[in-house]
């Protein structure tokens, strides 16, 4: 052990003595090797041993001073805004990372299993980001790619950059002002697919794990669909020795996503995702179930729609997955509703599609009504499509004021709700129409739940609606109309 190492060792021992703690092996190693450093662009405190707040000693003492209610077995490795990142020494030898809020009296919140893993992952990420940025800079330098000018005058034609599919495009995907993905890609006319150079993603701390890579993959696959070409994706890189583009490996983060969605790549070694694999991945990311996929493929065989087309409209958020699923299961011509292919000139078909689309949207409005009320247990309701029925389980209390009788219906959390949303269709009489709808609702509902018949608001124009409902002995509160 040389003099410097001896000195560092002494400093670590002194700090432990002053704080009355024993550092876990991983943190001790970090102090010995690096003293202090940056991870994810943020500081990790360590040495020198001083009472300054940017050293582990000073920072830990400052936390003890500011939050005397917190036990002294936390070692502060970072202050950020009003939060302290600490190693929890409660479990002997373990190096769990927790976050302590300086303001208020919140208890420590676990944010990572191990300091060692956090460090390793952080360093790996940093290397990957730097590599990606280098690649983007090289693209700007060597590939003569067009650069987008955010501030350019849209009226000035010379400054407008008409990006074509075959041009290299560098895109960033952001969530709440934070970049979660960077990619550089273009349509390659040689293999009629997408060529990807840079592909890197991360997660926004406020959202579920893996959303960054999903957002980035959706961006690529949607672009591939828009190009009207195959969905094939090839990862390539510039080889400075050969002076040409050569196949690159599949990015690590993407491997994890492929494993999660049980997709095996037939041309993994060449860094290629084939058309079918890409379409399956696109569908899986957007939550299309195997059963729904089969149904779509059936329509695809008839030449009515394509799986990637449905994925594209879902990713564009024109329809939600539940609406699309309901339309595909119940509508006689789903392609007309989902893609808006019916023209007003073909009046009957147009009105039918409009009516089915409205029925699907009405349930979303109904769900919003169930979810939007402010309560402590905020959250999305659980939804399942069962034939023509929507089975909804709300997670919070709410009130529905859409009843035909103007009565307010109280909804309690976790209450099972069955909704039958009906499109307008021809029937000899309103009486017959409502009777049939009620029978459909009752005969299809096997479990005990609260049942609602949901009509669009134009049904309220039926003058004797109440009389009809009375005649068929229907509880008025369950007849509701979408506003």
């Amino acid at each position: 052990m040389n003099e410097i190492h001896k000195e560092i060792h002494k400093e670590i021992v002194d700090t432990e003595k002053y704080l009355g703690v024993t550092f876990p092996a991983s943190y001790r190693k970090f102090l010995e090797e690096e003293g202090s450093g940056l991870i994810y662009g943020l500081p990790i405190y360590g040495l020198p041993a001083s009472q300054n707040i940017d050293s582990v000693w000073g920072a830990t003492e400052a936390l003890r001073l500011a939050r005397p209610d917190i036990p002294s077995n936390y070692v502060v490795v970072r202050f950020l805004d009003s939060r302290a990142l600490c190693i929890d020494l409660t479990n002997n030898g373990k190096d769990t990372l927790v976050e302590i809020n300086l303001i208020g009296n919140e208890q420590p919140k676990k944010i990572h299993d191990s300091f060692a893993l956090y460090l390793e992952k952080g360093k790996g990420n940093e290397d990957e980001i730097n590599r990606a940025l280098r690649k983007i800079e090289n693209l700007f330098r060597y590939e003569n790619i067009k650069e987008y000018d955010h501030k350019s005058d849209p009226k000035n034609k010379s400054k407008r950059l008409p990006f074509k599919a075959k041009d290299w495009r560098v895109m960033r995907s952001s969530v709440h002002d934070q970049i979660v993905g960077l990619t550089a890609f273009k349509h390659n006319e040689e293999f009629n697919g997408l060529e990807v150079d840079v592909f890197i993603s991360t997660d926004h701390p406020d959202y579920e794990a893996g959303h960054g890579i999903r957002a980035l993959m959706i961006l690529l696959l949607s672009d591939a669909y828009k190009n009207g070409a195959t969905m094939e994706i090839r990862f390539t890189r510039h080889d400075p020795k050969k002076g040409e583009r050569v196949p690159d490996r599949i990015p690590n983060q993407l491997n994890a996503l492929l494993r999660e969605n049980k997709i095996r790549l037939s041309r993994y070694e060449q860094g290629i995702i084939t058309h079918n694999e890409a379409v399956n991945l696109y569908a899986s990311i957007l939550g299309i179930t195997n059963e729904l996929k089969e149904r779509i493929k059936k329509y695809e065989a008839e030449g009515k729609l394509s799986l990637q087309g449905v994925c594209y409209i879902l990713s564009s958020r024109l329809w939600t997955i539940e609406e699309a699923s309901w339309i595909l299961h119940n509508c006689p011509r789903p392609e007309g509703v989902l893609f808006g292919r019916d023209l007003p000139e073909d009046r009957m078909k147009y009105l039918e599609s409009l009516s089915y689309g409205r029925a699907a949207l009405a349930v979303t409005r109904f769900r919003n009504k169930l979810e939007n009320n402010i309560s402590e247990n905020e959250g999305d309701s659980f939804v399942e499509i069962d034939g023509p029925l929507w089975k909804i389980v709300p997670k919070q209390p709410s009130e529905i004021d859409w009843s035909i009788s103007s009565e307010t219906i109280e909804i309690i959390p976790e209450e099972k709700i069955t909704v039958l949303s009906r499109p307008r269709r021809f029937m000899p009489s309103e009486n017959q129409l409502i009777t049939e709808d009620v029978n459909t609702l009752i005969s299809n509902t096997k479990d005990v739940s609260r049942k609602f018949l949901l009509y669009s608001s134009d049904f309220s124009k039926v003058s004797n609606f109440k009389e009809i409902a009375d005649r068929i002995n229907l509880t008025m509160s369950h007849l509701i109309k979408c506003q």
Partner: protein, 306 residues
Amino acid sequence: MAEGCNLHLTRPDIKQVKDAINIGQKTDTGKIARDLLNTTLTNDQQEFMKVLRDKNHPYHKLTQNLLVNSLGKDKVTKQEENRLPRALLTVLKDHHNPHGLFGKPQKYRGPGAEEMKHPYELLSTAALIQKEVTTSLGNKLKISPSDRLDFGQKFAAHYALPTIKKGTIEADTLVGRGSKLIGIDAKYSKSSLYTNIEERQFKGIRNSFIDGQLQEFYFITNGVFNQKFKDTVSEYNQKIFKDWANEYRTIYRAYNYFSKKEKAELPPENVLDIDFEKNGEVVNKLVKKYKIPQIGMCEHVNYEEH
């Protein structure tokens, strides 16, 4: 799933990403220290005051470091930095966590109000609590326990409340005494001779007096002000006096409609004809009699540790 937006990445964006990666190197330790001090004060002020009082307390040195980080390193002498914990204790004795001490101050008076960021602001406030000082106007200045204290307040420098920081003037310490607001601006100089003159600030103070935003304003320093600074104060005091006199001149137009009592309270009509240079005493008498606001100066305002 999180909804994001997709945009083209440009060369300046790359620089921003690189900067973001190294953002930790620019961590504002001052802000962290202020947050910690603010939390400590909010959580248990009594315990914190014990730490400040007892030099042998294990957290005393840490608190001093936090104060130095919070208010700025090497802005004052080491000796003065050592006095900071005691100075804070003096302030906290009668004033429970004033606005702008470590937390963000209210910004309704003017945008850009910031928490205390210079050690001398704390030292001078403690000094004014500790002892009475005589101002250049001849009156006594002292912060009493019943006064309300605010730090880092900004005021509109012109006639309308500005939306940008440039259109404001600052009162490092703002003392609220009944309906009266006293602004204090602490000017520190390591050489003990303060020389910097900000014309904009003087104009702003003059406007604040006309608007009635402030009733008194004092410049205080640890040493002395140079002659040019004193001359500028004197020049602006004359301008403020003229502002007041001009206002009464317009009132004289309606003289005939005033009651006897009101007429008796009015200043002489020829106040503007007074030669300010030659008749300083007369001016001073008028200032005192009619309570005309003036800018005051206090020198050698230093906190003493007992």
